[in-house]
Amino acid sequence: MKKILLAPMLIMVLCLSGCWDYRELADVTVVTGIAVDKTQNNKYKLTVEGINAQELNNRTAAGYAPSIVYSLSGNSIAELTQKMNIGFSRNLIYSHMRILIISETAAREGITEFIDFLERDREIRDDFRLIISRRTSAAQILKTTYPFQKSSSLKLFKQMDSFRRNWGGNPSVQLNDVVNALTSPAVQPVMEAVTIQGKASKGPSVENMKKVTPDALVVLDSLGIFREGKLIGFLPLNDSRYYVWLRGKLDHTAFSIECRKQNNNFITLRAYNNKSKITGHLEDGKAAFKVKLQLEGFLDSNHCGKDLNKVETYKEYEKLAEKYIEKEMKLSINKVQKKYKIDVYGFGEYLYRNDYKNFKTVEHNWDNVFKNAKVEVDAKVKLRRTALRTKSFISETKAKH
């Protein structure tokens, strides 16, 4: 009996390797970025960047193009991803996708339709960045080469990560952030926008990588704001930093603050340990918020020539910085309130979570309530040290004359 059973079991073992979903590594092209554009005839134009792995490795690189970018038009992104073999030779693997670029025109008409596919598909992860291409087509961004990462999507991914770490100008929006914001009653999604500096037409070539100043360079531009899944405008990078701070994602940043009574002289405050806290309440359909900001920092440049050996100076600079930050943050929030009239910061989310019953009454026109909400900003700056020098040499030279 046991011997008879052995034969079918051995046959079973042969089938256990999962042949149906089996893909050879040599049969696969890794997709690092995709771009979505609007076309006139079809709903979308999908552009895919498949990397040429040989070129990314310095030892095996032969000077060919580091990646192949191919576009196709159709009515659904999901179908187009499977149809890409019209141009590509190997199976495309989307699980290592780093960025998704949406063109400005496509974003203005709405992003909700294809976000569904991205969220649903099993192969696509959540760890890619969503970006808007401003003043240029999304495909063009994917095509622009860069000497270090070679593949433009890898470059953009790295660039955004570094920028967020050093200056905090972009929130590094991921898929779940967008979906959560789209479905939440009290907050609206944002995405960072990029654009091409220089001659865009010269971007898609290996020559572009060989120049000290590339002919075409992808630069971060601003922060795109959405209402009901449609792009309505852009916030400059400076305001985008305050957005990041309010959302609690700011790592490090630097402020240049004008000294008192000395126009065009600045101190630079390098900030770390940035924290923000929103509190607020709702009364008779009117909202009032208090934003508490907290940061620690050190002085990185001092044009003002005050004596930095004294506690007094520290106090003065802290005051200066607090005032500056309070003013700027308030301006930034007011700008969004007046110009775009939507809540991107999550003020409503705070009310939703902490004052659910009251919030329910204004939920349907929250953006209206937010427009008229009073926001107070209270910053606390702790200046800890002044890098490697105490007194600035500037004050010494001035003393001589």
Binding site: W20, D126, V179
Partner: protein
């Protein structure tokens, strides 16, 4: 046939795996939105009561499984009918559990592999395990449970480390009051997973130290309930309420978010391991219960039924539903009402009342 022996630790691990089983795959209490964890914690409390109730029945008629208890209470003919119904119930549940797992695998890992094949391979294994006996199953759980607990801890640590957890997501707590949560606890969480412990009425007689078994099964329910609550907390805090509710397999979606230093990424496989083991145990326990029923009816050792029944489960795991929506809808609307409530609480409740009544009569007789 020789009596099988299970140790108390094995009972504990069996209980944990059984309860985690398919409930962690599809997620329980999701209808309670961001209060799912409260619902689960409350459900665990109810789970203690349920386990105590089943244990009590088993205590009243010692050394007998549910079918023998029926015979003791109802006589031969009704017992055969009841046993057949219970066998059907258990086979059906096993099929559903296996289908849960198939859906998970084919949606997340192997979309092109025919689901029939996944089911067949899994059921051959399960049939083999039951053919070897419940002791083997118990030893499997004993070996693998530490891994499951370890993986849970790992998952939690990695999620915290990758900074995806936002504790604010659990607010507002009890936004709609207690009532909506209570509605989820009863009948949803009570019947699934805790009420399914009815299958343990067949396992209880095999335990060697009966006087401690209640304590250990209570601990098991506690640990499993804790893990389920923890997993629902993890899903809610990482995914947010909305995405959690829309996920077909919440914990899997959570594991996909793990990313520590761009080095440890995507813990899918770990979660699938937890789920696979849970499904294997749960399916095998149901299968064992069904074979025991057939053993009682046909008076043949249950091992004879193991492989054929496994094949039946494999067939019906495919036939049980046409598509995923059908599967979920059936599980949410029909099964609790028409299967769970009568088989988990109706019949055992009536049986218990009759047993108590009989005992009292006996005592009265003796007194006379």
């Amino acid at each position: 046939m020789p009596k099988e022996n299970l140790s108390l630790i094995q009972l504990l691990t069996l209980t944990i795996n059984f309860l985690i089983g398919s409930s962690i795959v599809v997620g329980v209490g999701l209808q309670a939105k961001n209060d799912a964890w409260i619902a689960l914690a409350a459900g665990t409390m109810a789970g203690f009561a349920i386990v105590w109730f089943y244990h009590k029945i088993s205590d009243l008629v010692p050394e007998k499984n549910i079918y023998q208890i029926f015979e003791y209470v109802y006589g031969k003919k009704i017992t055969i009918l009841l046993s057949l119904l219970y066998v059907t119930y258990f086979v059906y549940l096993a099929s559903r559990v296996v289908r849960d797992f198939i859906e998970l695998i084919s949606a997340s890992i192997m979309p092109h592999t025919p689901i029939e094949f996944i089911s067949l391979t899994l059921m051959l294994l399960m049939g083999y395990i039951i053919y070897l006996g419940i002791e083997v199953l118990a030893r499997i759980t004993e070996i693998f449970t530490p891994y499951i607990l370890g993986f849970f801890v790992l998952l939690g640590i990695f999620l915290i480390a990758s900074g995806t957890i936002d504790i604010q997501n659990i607010k507002p707590v009890l936004s709609g009051g207690v009532f909506p949560v209570a509605k989820v606890v009863f009948p949803s969480i009570i019947t699934f997973p805790f009420g399914e412990l009815i299958a343990f009425l067949i396992i209880f007689p095999a335990i060697t130290k009966r006087n401690h078994s209640l304590k250990f099964s209570l601990i098991g329910v506690g640990i499993a309930g804790g893990l389920l609550t923890l997993s629902s907390l993890l899903t809610i805090t990482t995914l947010g309420t909305d995405i959690t509710q829309r996920s077909a397999f919440p914990l899997l979606s959570v594991a996909r978010l793990v990313s520590v230093g761009e080095f440890i990424e995507r813990m899918d496989s770990v979660v699938v391991f937890i789920m696979m083991l849970g499904i294997l145990i749960k399916g095998a326990v149901f299968l064992f219960s069904a074979t025991k029923g057939l053993e009682h009816i046909f008076n043949l050792p249950y091992r004879y039924f193991a492989v054929p029944l496994a094949m039946i489960v494999s067939l019906f795991s495919i036939l049980v539903s046409v598509n995923f929506a059908d599967h979920v809808e059936e599980g949410l609307t029909l099964v609790p009402k028409f299967l769970h409530l009568p088989f988990q609480f109706g019949v055992p409740g009536i049986t218990m009342v009759i047993i108590l009544w009989k005992k009292r009569k006996q005592i009265k007789k003796r007194k006379r």
